[in-house]
Amino acid sequence: MTFDYDGWIILIGVLVAACCAVPGSWLVVRGMGMMGDAISHAVLPGIALGFLISGTRSGGWMFLGAAVSGVLAAVLTQLVHRWGRVERGAAMGLVFTSFFSLGLLLIVQTADTVDLDANCVLYGAIELAPLDTIDLLGIEVPRVVVPLAIVLLANVLLTLVFYKELLASSFDSALATSQGFAARWIHYGLMVLTAATCVACFEAVGSIITVALLVAPPATALLLTRRMKWVLVWAIGLGGAAAGLGHIAAITVPGWILGGGLDTSSAGMMAVITFVLFLVAAFAAPGRGVLARRWATRRDAMRIAIEDALGLLFRLEERSMDTDREVVEHLLRSDVRIGPRRLAAVRARLRRGALARVDGTCWQLTDAGRSEASSLVRAHRLWETYLAGRSTIPTSHLHAAAERLEHVTDRELVEELEAEVGPQREDPHGRPIPESDLWN
């Protein structure tokens, strides 16, 4: 193995991934990820026919055949859905499997006379691709690089030129159509693009992995950004990264496990890496990942627990009641329902934030803590007063409602509440509403 050989494989992989990322992103945001699957299978009879007619694997015939059968499958899916009264997913399953089988039949039937291998179409042969070279402007390059580069260029250019049309018709096809951009034709244009992409990629990585590269990088990109143009950029970058990492993993990982000299399918490993990247993003993506959401939930729960503890101390103090540590913590456990582990964290945070401390055996609010607690209780009692005047919630039930609302009441909302409630000094239970100057 030379650097050249591995370098070419990685380059081919990156080209394939970048090629797929462009139509794949549009398919995924249109909720048509499976259409990528359908098209990638449905182009097979077109490829076979194109090959039969031209007798070579590099001709424009194969692209033409694939584009025609890809669009035909898309149209047919629509017709089966409408006329056969079959749900769209089932219509897709019906059409693309029959196209694929037809393609397989054509290939197997003619396998004796021509050099097109069903396995190659299914799984690709990226390891062999660098060996089959042509001379391009004096440089020897793998033959598959040429169609891949052309398709990538076409994909990128078309997306740049028709970005606005693709965006509008993907988001709101009725609006696009009402503005004179026939959404149906944009849809079929995208199908042609997908079909051409599939053909260019099949020889390198096969049909199954093409589907992975169409869907997984855009799906991952959507976890990382919420702007379409960045979805496209991320999808290309993630696909490229998966291709590079995939090949490196393919030649190293089996060696770690089974001992030296072994390697596995690079294309297969590339698809595995796209999925790994997706899992990592789904888990760790800022904002939308599982971790980020769990972290946000915990942070909110912690804040609410601290606020509840402050509120409790304030109310005990107000009634001149005992703030003995045991009593307070019992109340926090039973009434506010703070679990023992969170309680320890709350205690630590109160102490660290200098909001409250344990003096001897009793909890004491600090001045800062009292000021914060008083504004919370103020929000709480303003809500109770507001709700009592404007809803049919019985007075005994006001507390629970206000308890939830006080945690999401910012200063602006308090000011609006003050304006609504008027110069009220007591809440419906007869408790004084703390003065607002304690804010400062």
Binding site: E165, F171, A174, L175, S178, R227
Partner: protein, 271 residues
């Protein structure tokens, strides 16, 4: 060619006003041969707020979509300002129902509003500064300036509806066709929307709205179309919104017609 116009006038019947903002003649729309709109015939005068009301399944949304060629017609002719829709496309803005789009789509509020400018831009041209400024000022008109750079999924239902309204405003049209712009919005949003519609009317535009609330229809609109598969009545609010017309629209009078429609749907015509 005056002779041609005259001939068209004869074919389209004398009752149609050539100055009407929206003029529908003999429109029939069917899903799978089952008619949902029968021989719809109506005129909406220019510069007014018009409501389309009727029970569920009356074909209100279908009527708007058929006007814009979003659904195939069985028969009929639709004119806007005397011309077919395709010739006056840039003068017409459409507001679809909010539920028809995926609000999780990766675009910002500003992106969505800027889509209103696409029609004027035409093919192959990118959104530039001018379009973004137009979108910003439309957002200002619906009170959503501060949300311009938010992702659209972060908006409430009422805010989403206002984004759609802003997108229509950007189109700077003469005829607005709006499908349920008041559906599930709060009272404040409803007021904000109706204020915008009144301003549009003040500027000479015509607004046709699918409306579901009979309580407010007389207050908001001055022209009404009562629809239940066919046009029960269409005309100025005062003379058209009568108890008899409402009964005919919402009452059970049309069951025979519905039965016939179902039968037509089942009919297997050799084609």
């Amino acid at each position: 060619m005056p002779s041609k116009t005259a001939a068209e006038g004869i074919l389209r019947g004398p009752e149609h006003d050539p100055t009407a903002a929206l003029s529908i003649h003999d429109l029939t729309v069917a899903y799978d041969r089952r008619p949902v709109l029968w021989d719809v015939d109506l005129d909406v005068p220019p510069g007014c707020l018009a409501a389309i009301v009727g029970p569920n399944g009356a074909g209100k949304s279908t009527l708007i979509k058929a006007c814009l060629d979003l659904l195939p017609r069985v028969s009929g002719d639709v004119r806007m300002f005397g011309s077919p829709w395709r010739q006056v496309r840039s003068r017409v803005a459409y507001v679809p129902q909010r539920e028809t789009v995926d609000w999780d789509f990766p675009v910002s509020v500003l992106d969505v509003v800027a889509m209103g400018t696409y029609g004027r831009l035409g093919w192959l041209r990118w959104v530039g500064k001018t379009q973004k400024q137009a979108a910003m000022s439309a957002l200002e008109r619906v009170g959503l300036t501060e949300y311009a750079h938010r992702q659209i999924s972060q908006l409430s239902g009422g805010q989403q509806q206002r984004v759609f309204l802003a997108r229509a405003l950007v189109q700077d049209a003469d005829l607005y066709l709006m499908d349920e712009p008041f559906a599930s919005v709060d009272a404040a949003t409803e007021q904000a929307i109706i204020e915008v519609l009144r301003t549009l009317r003040g500027d000479g535009a015509t607004v046709v709205v699918v409306h579901h609330d009979l309580q407010t229809v007389a207050e908001y609109f001055e022209h009404i179309i009562l629809l239940n598969m066919r046009v029960v009545a269409s005309g100025p609010m005062d003379s058209t919104l009568t108890a008899e017309h409402l009964r005919a629209t919402y009452g059970g009078r049309l069951t025979l017609l519905e039965q016939a429609a179902t039968a037509l749907g089942r009919l297997s015509q050799p084609k």
